[in-house]
Amino acid sequence: LAKTTQPISMDSYEGQEVNITCSHNNIATNDYITWYQQFPSQGPRFIIQGYKTKVTNEVASLFIPADRKSSTLSLPRVSLSDTAVYYCLVGLRGRDDKIIFGKGTRLHILP
């Protein structure tokens, strides 16, 4: 499993675009990059997944440079309800399908 590094916390304001970057220097050829969002007292929720270049859905965009050693989750025009912990996961889970979450980034949106 590729190790990931994310900022521990970030603050932003309502209406701003927020970019959270995840470093994964030892990403393997078959690895996908997946982001989850977790609100207090809830399980994480899938946001977006990508392999290369750019992926966009109704919630976020995911930018992956050519070397794939990092990725950036972009949340357009955030609101207070986007306050949550965001996890970046990278990796083919291997024969045993183990899935391990890192510490994530605690995003705090201010009014």
Binding site: G91, D97, I99
Partner: protein, 113 residues
């Protein structure tokens, strides 16, 4: 559509008492199943995962155990709870593979006194 349920939602237990948390998945077959624990203000800790009936892989705990008696049922147990077992327990399922999305249950909050 697929759904996942776990219960009980809230549990208060004395130290040394037993524990049983149950999780069931509907609408899919042969899912990968996972138990995670999240202590207050902390990250998600993988406890157990299973890729099939009777196949359990343990990651960390020594006083917790897991069983998968049926394809879509995953049970977390303990014979004697410790204070450190307090936390938010989450069951999850996935189709497996390197693109399979994880789907989580509602969670069970355990307080050990």
């Amino acid at each position: 559509s697929q759904t996942i349920h776990q219960w009980p939602a809230t549990l208060v237990q004395p130290v040394g008492s037993p524990l049983s948390l149950e999780c069931t998945v509907e609408g899919t077959s042969n899912p990968n199943l996972y138990w995670y624990r999240q202590a207050a203000g902390r990250g998600l800790q993988l406890l157990f995962y299973s890729v099939g009936i009777g196949q359990i892989s343990s990651e960390v705990p020594q006083n917790l155990s897991a069983s998968r008696p049926q394809d879509r049922q995953f049970i977390l147990s303990s014979k004697k709870l410790l204070l450190s077992d307090s936390g938010f327990y989450l069951c999850a399922w996935s189709t497996g593979g390197n693109t399979g999305e994880l789907f989580f249950g509602e969670g069970s909050r355990l307080t050990v006194l």
